[in-house]
């Protein structure tokens, strides 16, 4: 079966610095792949190369067997690839519901049909379902900027899911989230994976979160793949312990 995502020999240079150095991997349907590594090892740069935010210096990306290298992020998103960022990226002046409607509205019809069509692009009920799914129901009409950090983080993740993506790339979803909210987030991600068959790639520093959520883990160090395997194998890998996990 064709992998959902194929990353082949991606290399990204910034002047004399090589941030990502020939990274290759595949992500299969329904998989939750974790990418870990010390700060500055090229995880976010790799994400940006996959998602069209940066043009790789070398190498290529395929989505469902189709080459998508250099494709614009908005076009990739419409192909079913969604993402979150390391830092919160919501629209604080819009309501929670409007944030979600915005996240889904560009997936149907044309610009013209969106102008003359319904105000909510027919997404209110879908947005409300997503709000309930992420347990934010009581906040639907609140301005997103007024929510707590953890609630904003849930909204941020919910926005990546509303259009029913095939592949979601999550950049440090657990960063700055308290333990209760973290359990809720993990629970929602697992449910989404199980119920809707979405495939995830997750960058994360929280090892408990990664090891309990992911089915496979890749370790990056200095822009290269250091190790790849099941969570238990990664935990026991001496090279990984030396470079990242510590004793």
């Amino acid at each position: 079966m064709t992998p959902v995502l194929e990353v082949a020999h991606i290399r990204k240079r910034f002047g004399g610095i090589t941030a990502v150095d020939g990274v290759s991997f595949e992500v299969r349907e329904g998989e939750i792949l974790g990418i870990i590594g010390p700060n500055g090892c090229g995880k976010s740069t790799l994400f940006n190369c996959i998602l069209g935010q940066l043009q790789p210096s070398e190498g290529g990306v395929k989505l469902d067997g189709r080459t998508t290298t250099g494709m614009r992020p908005c076009d990739l998103n419409r192909l079913g690839v969604s993402r979150t960022f390391q830092l919160l990226q919501i629209f604080p002046r819009l309501s929670v519901r409007d944030n979600l409607i915005l996240a889904g509205q560009e997936h149907e019809g044309t610009m013209l049909s969106r102008l003359v069509g319904p105000r909510d692009a027919g997404l209110t009920s879908v947005a409300d379902q997503m709000i309930e799914f992420f347990k934010l129901g009581h906040l639907a009409d609140e301005r997103a900027g007024g929510l707590s950090y953890g609630q904003q983080k849930l909204l941020d993740v919910a926005m990546a899911f509303i259009a029913g993506p095939r592949l979601v790339l999550l950049d440090e979803p657990a960063g700055g989230v308290n333990l209760t909210m973290l359990a809720n987030l993990k629970d929602r991600l697992k449910a989404f994976n199980a119920e809707r068959g979405a495939t995830f790639v997750v960058i994360e520093h929280n090892m408990d979160f990664v090891m309990s959520l992911c089915t496979r883990v890749i370790v990056l160090a200095e822009g290269k793949v250091l190790a790849e395997g099941l969570p238990a194998e990664i935990r026991a890998d001496p090279a990984v312990i030396e470079a990242y996990l510590g004793h």
Binding site: C74, Q89, M111, R114, L115, V116, M159
Partner: protein, 332 residues
């Protein structure tokens, strides 16, 4: 603000304002009607800039130049015998096309860098208005711009032309309300607040940026096409950077990114100086102080004051509801 716009009080206020705008001018003299017509025309231009700057977050110092392009288009065509309606369509189309092209630099530069690009266009437009005498009449401008006859009614009387401008303003206002409440409006806000995230959510930020410039510019052109018959004379000094700055002030003072902002901002910029004229030579000093004071008190403009008040009232009501709920739970 949606609560505000949707409330019964706002509808009542709107109806009262409409009644005032329809009935009060019946008692106005020639100059009063001229000023009120100018308010309507400049509000249309400010609505356009509010879309580009206020909603989509793209800085533009070229709106005055688009008013100029529209005014010259209407003046050139109507003095050649074209009906104003057709001249308006040409002005809108021309400004839409120029605005679209001017939007391209916004795909690469932002903020004050973009302001300088649009400033350069503004200067270029002024030079064309002044130097290309074969087309624009040069420093003499174009005189004798006729007012239209609409459905057999001449708009030569000031009152008739005022109602015509008010009708166009109402149509533009309704169209803009539709636009900003549609998915496009949401996409423009996303473009302003976080273009990176918008792009990752499938929003074609390139196309929306160009569209924000083009629609904003076309409304500037429409305002210009109405301005030309209002004054009857179109000449270069009107369309300098000062007009762009004045329109920018209307948007900022009224409330950038709020639907009603340009209406109020244009009142402050066009009507307030006239109301202060009783102060004779001091009126501009007081006017400047009032505007500065307002922006210090409320950087989000006049509508910002109202928004703060309504948010405060909502928060207080929610706190009271929570307190009463808490009390009822504690009571056995």
């Amino acid at each position: 603000m949606s609560h505000f716009l949707g409330s019964r009080a706002s509808w009542l206020a709107g109806l009262l304002l409409l009644a005032f705008l329809l009935l009060a001018p019946l008692e106005f003299h020639r100059y009063g009607l001229y000023i009120l017509s100018q308010w309507a025309v400049m509000t249309i231009a400010a609505i356009g800039l509010n879309l580009t700057l206020g909603y989509a977050g793209q800085v533009s110092l070229a709106q005055g130049a688009f008013v100029g392009v529209g005014a010259y288009s209407a003046a050139i065509l109507t003095t050649q015998g074209w009906p104003l309606g057709l001249a308006i369509l040409v002005a809108i189309a021309l400004c839409f096309a120029i605005g679209w092209i001017l939007g391209y630099p916004a795909l690469r530069v932002q903020h004050h860098y973009l302001a300088f690009v649009t400033l350069a266009f503004s200067t270029l437009a002024f030079l064309v208005f002044r130097n290309e005498a074969w087309l624009t009449g040069g420093t003499d401008g174009i005189d004798g711009v006729p007012r239209p006859v609409i459905l057999g009614i001449s708009t030569k009387p000031h009152l008739a032309y005022y109602y015509f401008c008010l009708l166009v303003l109402a149509l533009v206002g309704l169209a803009m309300l539709w636009l900003v409440r549609s998915p496009w409006g949401r996409a423009f806000v996303a473009l302003r607040e976080n273009p990176l995230r918008a792009l990752s959510l499938g929003v074609d930020t390139r196309r929306y940026t160009l569209m924000a410039f083009a629609i904003g510019a076309s409304l500037g052109g429409l305002a210009g096409a109405l301005y030309a018959p209002l004054v009857g004379l179109v000449e270069p000094p009107v369309f300098t950077l000062a007009l762009s700055l004045s329109l920018l002030m209307m948007v900022i003072v009224g409330g950038s990114g709020y639907f009603l902002g340009p209406f109020l901002g244009a009142m402050v910029a066009v009507l307030l100086p006239e109301w202060l004229r009783f102060l004779e030579s001091y009126y501009l000093i007081l006017y400047s102080l009032l505007v500065m004071g307002l922006l210090i008190y409320s950087p989000t403009g006049l509508i910002g004051i109202l928004d703060r008040f309504l948010t405060h009232r909502r928060t207080r009501a929610a706190s009271a509801a929570r307190a009463s709920l808490g009390a009822s739970i504690e009571r056995p």
